[in-house]
């Protein structure tokens, strides 16, 4: 039966395919073609339930009538389908838009070695059926059932022998019906197949084999899977592969990753929201060699979170195998971030000659660099050298030095601190820095401290008394912190003073105690 409208549908089909070939499926122009095609085909299927098309080498037929013909092999849709063995197509009611789009997308593909049939099968289209002929089908059917000769043995005893050997209980009642729990078990098993990645199992298998079989197939496959793991950010399994390849073969699977492109390519990884992936990544890069250090130093500048910066620096120190000489090469870098990281890594390495290494940078113009140096000096316990930074021009650096000295309890710095605190310039400093000075003073002061604080507290001022009131408060607070009888007596004495700044400072300090 020739049904009107089929020609129009086929024309729409051809237009849609050509448009997809030109612009791709997602392009709006293609949509202008496949939308009407879907509409026309759906209307047709609503009326006729199905649309059957026969495929010939260069033509598409409907009910024996040619509805499309194109003899140019490169452009003929009929030829493309025919070449892969498709001999008929059937569209049935219920066809969805997505199904049709998958179908169009597949038949529009132009790759030479593409097997359209396989692609269509993989699309699993419920409402588009196609009949395929395979090559040599007739030959395949040419099968003769082998003759079975009559064998004269005692079959009764053969059966008895099997029953005995296999210990078969022939009276056992077989009940293969499944209980609901067993149905659930199957559903779980299927969902495990669908959701659980297979790669870890395959890796385990190949690793087991590698111990007894170091053939190229196994080794190469593991190398390929290593790349796949790295791409998938599965660093746990990547480590397993590297570990076993190194243990069982003489190849270095890491070599191909030790380049700037690959290492810098992982910059998004170091800020991943997953702590687990980051930790696995850190563990994985432990397998890199020294030659990758320059790239990792660059990578450090991309890291956002301080705790991760610390972890990655520590890992780089380990990759560099505490090779101070290697790190020294980067101390003349113009890249401030890199320089700071290198100093920090040297700090982690606990190099013997750290002061000598860093001394040229003590006067580095960038305060962050000087600040980082203080961290190194503090870590290596060089308070005397740190004290030099109390004269630094940057308040930020001085505070860093003060904090370091506060922690270190270095009494020899006391005199210098006292001089600073009692100097005229001190009154012009920011309160935060003044506080750090007093903290440091209290920590490092000895017998003289209380007396010195009393002096500061009760100092007679004619001019600049307003600015000095902050210093009095800090001195009073320091005395309260010292908390000895003498210190408290001084504060109580201060309560009786006429100077309202002294009185107020002492009141506050005693209240806070």
């Amino acid at each position: 039966m020739i049904v009107s409208g089929v020609d129009d549908i086929i024309k729409s089909l051809i237009r849609a395919v050509k448009s997809i070939q030109m612009y791709g499926v997602k392009h709006p122009s293609s949509k202008n073609f496949y939308d009407p095609f879907y509409e026309k085909l759906s209307d047709y299927l609503k009326k006729h339930a199905e649309l059957n098309l026969e495929i010939e080498q260069f033509a598409i037929l409907h009910s024996g009538r040619t509805v499309y013909e194109e003899r140019e092999k490169d452009v003929s849709i009929a030829f493309r389908l025919f070449r892969d063995g498709i001999r008929s197509l059937r569209f049935t009611q219920g066809l969805t838009f997505d199904e049709l789009l998958s179908f169009l997308g597949t038949i529009a593909m132009v790759a030479k070695d593409l097997d359209i049939v396989l692609r269509l099968w993989e699309c699993d289209l419920l409402h588009i059926n196609f009949y395929v002929v395979e090559e040599e089908e007739e030959q395949a059917m040419d099968y003769k059932v082998p003759e079975v000769p009559v064998v004269n043995i005692d079959y009764e005893s053969k059966v008895r022998e099997i029953i005995e050997k296999e210990n078969i209980d022939i009276n056992d009642v077989i009940k293969p019906e499944l209980a609901s729990g067993e149905l659930d078990y199957l559903k779980t098993e299927i969902s495990v197949v669908e959701k659980t990645p297979l790669l870890p199992t395959v890796i385990t298998t190949l690793i087991s084999l590698l111990k007894i079989d170091q053939s190229r197939d196994i080794i190469n496959s593991l190398v390929v899977l290593l790349e796949r793991c790295v791409d998938n950010r599965d660093f746990y399994n990547a480590r397993r592969i590297v570990h076993h390849l190194r243990e069982n073969t003489d190849i270095d699977p890491m070599e191909k990753f030790e380049n700037e492109r690959t290492i810098m390519g992982s910059h998004s990884l170091i800020n991943t929201s997953s702590g687990e992936i980051f930790n696995e990544f850190i563990a994985f890069i432990g397998l890199f060699s020294k030659k990758s250090v320059p790239y990792f130093l660059k990578l450090l500048s991309y890291i956002d979170r301080p705790e991760r910066l610390l972890a990655l620096r520590s890992r780089i120190a380990s990759i560099a195998q505490d090779d101070v000489a290697l790190m020294k090469n980067f101390l003349d870098s113009d890249d401030i971030t890199m320089l700071i990281n290198v100093i920090a890594i040297l700090n982690l390495m606990k190099a013997d000659n750290i002061i000598a290494l860093l001394r040229p940078l003590f006067s580095h113009p960038n305060p962050d660099v000087r600040s980082e140096i203080i961290s190194v000096l503090a870590n290596d316990f060089h308070p005397g050298v740190i004290a030099q930074f109390l004269d630094d021009e940057s308040s930020y650096v001085r505070i860093k030095a003060l904090r370091a000295l506060t922690k270190m309890k270095y009494s020899r710095v006391y005199t210098k601190l006292f001089q600073k605190v009692t100097s005229r310039e001190f009154r012009s400093l920011e309160l935060a820095e003044q506080q750090e000075y007093f903290n440091c003073l209290v920590t490092n002061g000895a017998e003289k401290l209380t007396k010195d604080l009393e002096k500061i507290l009760f100092k007679w001022m004619l001019f600049g008394h307003k600015k000095y009131s902050a210093v009095r408060k800090l001195a009073a607070t320091a005395l309260a912190y010292v908390d000895t009888e003498d210190a408290l007596a001084i504060l109580r004495k201060g309560l009786k003073k006429r100077n309202r700044h002294i009185k107020s400072a002492c009141e506050i300090a005693l209240r806070q105690k």
């Binding site: 339930a49 049935t92 219920g94 040599e136 210990n167 293969p176 559903k187 299927i190 007894i212 053939s215």
Partner: protein
């Protein structure tokens, strides 16, 4: 199974069950009717009509075959049996159908055959059309049909043979053909699962490895489909089944075809085929998704459910679901196939009993049960002696009754060959299977009844 088809069948089942228990005015029936009609109305926006066709042992919903899967099995089985018993060939529901019409129809279809036919001829349905099958149509046609299925099977056999021979001779492997044949087998399975399964009775003594590989692929496919694996997984499972023994290409043919008892050393060498299988799959398939599954199955297909088996496991790894399926299918086909060192194999019936017995030991117990449901107690190709003294070959399973298959009498009481009738043992209440017997005794190749 098509979701719409599956849902219709289950709603129809619920409605019939409701009218079997309650009066048609009862709320339970009314609600079941309402639900059914609501769903039908939704579908009628897409389809011009709803058609359920019974053909062979299957139900088709608007020309799509509904697969027997574990989930929804009972309802599909019930509807199939009901239509078959009442000799209904097709049932068409048209737009305009309402709840009352459907409930009345359900109350009639619930009846036994005579009562049903009496009532149905007295009642007029505007929007339900029933077509009955003729006696001729009721004859099972699967013995003469299925050319396409056979083509797929034999093409697959040729591809499997080429694949293994190429690996044996270190020639390049044609991956495309393997892929295509797997999909073609999946299509054949959707067309007629039992017809395809019947072809696994083909056991070629001389080409054991090829036939065995294909049969394991087909049996695995059928088991996978029965438990409801999606199509993509079925393709992977079938490929894995075809390739499970591929490691044997690295073992000398002398050893593989050795007829005598194997020495311990030879046995150890033979066991290495699981290891070699991995290497061969890598050569044949590379590391694509199917390759990964196939190599895992090739490695694990002798792992037992209880943790024993070979090769040894590093930790207490669980085998892949696919490996567990292939473990069963491989064992079954190996047991039932004549080989050099086992010229008289196990009868399928006893192989099934062994699988039952070794569930929880060698085999996953749930999969073993589904496998037995699939093959039945007397699998296709099994020769049986009847209480009538005749000998028959099992030609098809009865879905839902695993112990009473369809048989064809091939030898009369005097053990003379005859072209007997096909009988459904569910219907032939007086005919019983007495025992399973060996076809070799009579020089019969059971597969000749299916090819």
């Amino acid at each position: 199974m098509s979701t719409s088809g599956k849902d219709i069948v289950s709603l129809f089942y619920a409605l019939i069950k409701a009218v079997q228990v309650y009066d048609i005015n009862n709320d339970v029936v009314q609600n079941a009717g309402k639900k059914f009609i609501y769903y039908i109305d939704t579908l009628l926006n897409i389809y011009s009509q709803i058609e359920l066709i019974r053909y062979r042992d299957y139900i088709f919903f608007n020309k799509q075959r509904l697969r027997f899967e574990i989930d929804g099995y009972a309802s599909l089985q019930f509807i199939h049996d009901k239509l078959k018993k009442l000799r209904i060939k097709s049932l068409t529901l048209s737009p305009g159908i309402d709840k009352d019409e459907m409930i009345i129809f359900a109350s009639i279809i619930k009846e036994e055959e005579d009562e049903f036919h009496k009532k149905i001829s007295d009642t007029k349905f505007d929007n339900i059309h029933i077509e009955f099958s003729t006696d001729e149509e009721e004859k099972p046609d699967f013995m003469q049909d299925g050319a396409r299925i056979k083509r797929s099977y034999f093409k697959a056999l040729r591809v499997t043979k080429n694949l293994m021979q190429n690996l044996w001779t270190k020639q390049p492997v044609d991956v495309k053909s393997t892929k295509r044949i797997v999909y073609s087998l999946i299509d054949a399975l959707s067309e007629d699962e039992l017809g395809l399964l019947a072809l696994t009775t083909i056991k070629n003594f001389d080409e054991y490895t090829f036939n065995h590989s294909l049969n394991v692929g087909v049996l695995s496919l059928a088991l996978g489909q029965r438990i409801g694996l999606p199509k993509k997984s079925l393709a992977a499972l079938c490929t894995a089944g075809l390739l499970h023994d591929i490691g044997k290409v690295e073992i000398s043919k002398d050893l593989i075809y050795k007829s005598g008892k194997l020495t311990e050393e030879e046995w150890e060498t033979l066991k290495r085929h699981s290891d070699y299988g991995v290497r061969e799959v890598l050569k044949a398939r590379g590391l694509d998704e199917m390759g990964l599954i196939s190599l895992t199955v090739a490695y694990q297909h002798h792992w037992n459910y209880d943790g024993t088996g070979y090769p040894g496991r590093i930790k207490k790894e669980d085998p892949l679901l696919f490996s567990k399926i292939v473990r069963i299918c491989d064992s079954y086909d190996a047991m039932t196939t004549p080989r050099v060192y086992q010229p008289i194999p196990y009868l399928p019936h006893y192989a099934v009993r062994i699988i039952w017995q070794l569930r929880n030991v060698w085999f996953d117990p749930v999969l073993a049960k589904v496998f037995i449901q699939l093959l039945g107690l007397y699998p296709v190709g099994n020769l049986v002696k009847l209480n009538t003294g005749e000998i028959a070959v099992v030609v098809r399973q009865n879905q839902g009754n695993f112990a009473l298959p369809m048989i064809k009498v091939i030898l009369d009481k005097k053990e003379e060959k005859i072209d007997g009738n096909i009988m459904d043992l569910r219907a032939e209440k007086e005919i019983k299977i007495v025992k399973s017997i060996y076809p070799q005794k009579y020089g019969i190749n059971p597969s000749s009844y299916f090819v």
